[in-house]
Symmetry: none
Subunit: 184 residues, 2 copies
DNA sequence: AACTATATATAATA
DNA sequence: TATTATATATAGTT
């Protein structure tokens, strides 16, 4: 996607790696933003830079998406208000403004989110403590969620399998080439 | 990026919206994968499809990335270890090995389990409250997978909420804590 | 940090 | 779905 084709392998030169990261992170966030607007999709991305610094992107915000992901209720029939209208197609400046807002705006809700996070920690520990609670889940709508998530996991896997079809130089094929098994 | 330039505004036609979502989600995941390999970046993506279904992507895995975010908390009692040093970044073989492991780990069961998952999904729509059938899954490997994936989803949500607690733009170096996962 | 030449993603089409 | 023309991202360059 540039002057020359590159192999998808770790960039050795730290300088080049940092430049590549900056460019591609911007690209990824832009793609994420476009996807969210085009398809009315709410999404969040978290990552560590080569310098091990955390970066995130969220639309409408990381915490909102995360919140919904965790606390998703069976409100799939509820019509949401569109945060982007037809004639409000954002230009590049709008996009960058929005990105900046999203990237820095989370500070505003720190205290509020701290409560939630604490609550979530509590929940995790509870779940970790007793496996019997898993059985509790089976009698709840949570199982419905698990089924959905499982299907999604398969979709993700298929996506990765698709990626694996593209040869990566310097990588052993041993694990990959034994794919494509059918059911008996 | 296609035959014609499009405005970044919500796609009206549901059919087209679904097609666009599928294409761009694949593209986003591919970009995310490439970024993670090129720059040694670990990242996770969660999103809701137009049909409000959750999707996720993680490299090297969702829960690993979630772990690092989750345990990045500035708590004082956690052992500090700099697993994030530059030269600890996984090389391409490591990355591909892990990816391959993940791929082969799920690929073996994809066809078989996809059927089951589809079947489950169908049942879910036909009988939303059919708990009896759900209980039949209690002892199946499929359920195991579902539970794991569900835990992954929770972990991502948690890490994102925790991320929201700490602004990530322009942040100075922080000590990142290490922690080994209980699962697997 | 800006600038191209080129690779890649994808919108429209078949 | 699969293909193809075009828009976009970005690798190397300045």
């Amino acid at each position: 996607m540039g002057r020359r084709k590159i192999e998808i392998a770790e960039v050795k030169d730290p300088n080049n790696k940092q430049v590549t990261f900056s460019k591609r992170r911007s690209g990824l966030f832009k793609k994420a933003f476009e996807l969210s607007v085009l398809c009315g999709v709410e999404l969040a991305i978290v990552m560590f830079s080569p310098g091990k610094r955390p970066h995130s992107f969220g639309h409408p915000s990381v915490n909102i998406v995360a919140d919904k992901f965790l606390w998703k209720k069976p409100t799939s029939n509820v019509v949401r208000a569109n945060y982007v209208r037809e004639n409000d197609a954002p230009n590049e400046v709008d996009v960058m403004d929005r990105l900046s807002q999203q990237l820095s705006g989370v500070e505003v809700h720190i205290n509020e989110e701290h409560e939630k996070a604490t609550e979530l920690d509590k929940r995790e520990k509870e779940q970790e403590a007793s496996q019997a609670q898993n059985k509790e889940l089976l009698n709840s709508p949570v199982l419905q969620r698990m089924v959905e998530d499982y299907v999604d996991a398969i979709e993700v896997s298929e996506c990765m399998l698709l990626l694996a079809k593209e040869p990566v130089v310097g990588i052993s094929n041993r694990t990959i080439t034994k794919r494509r098994r059918r059911r008996n």
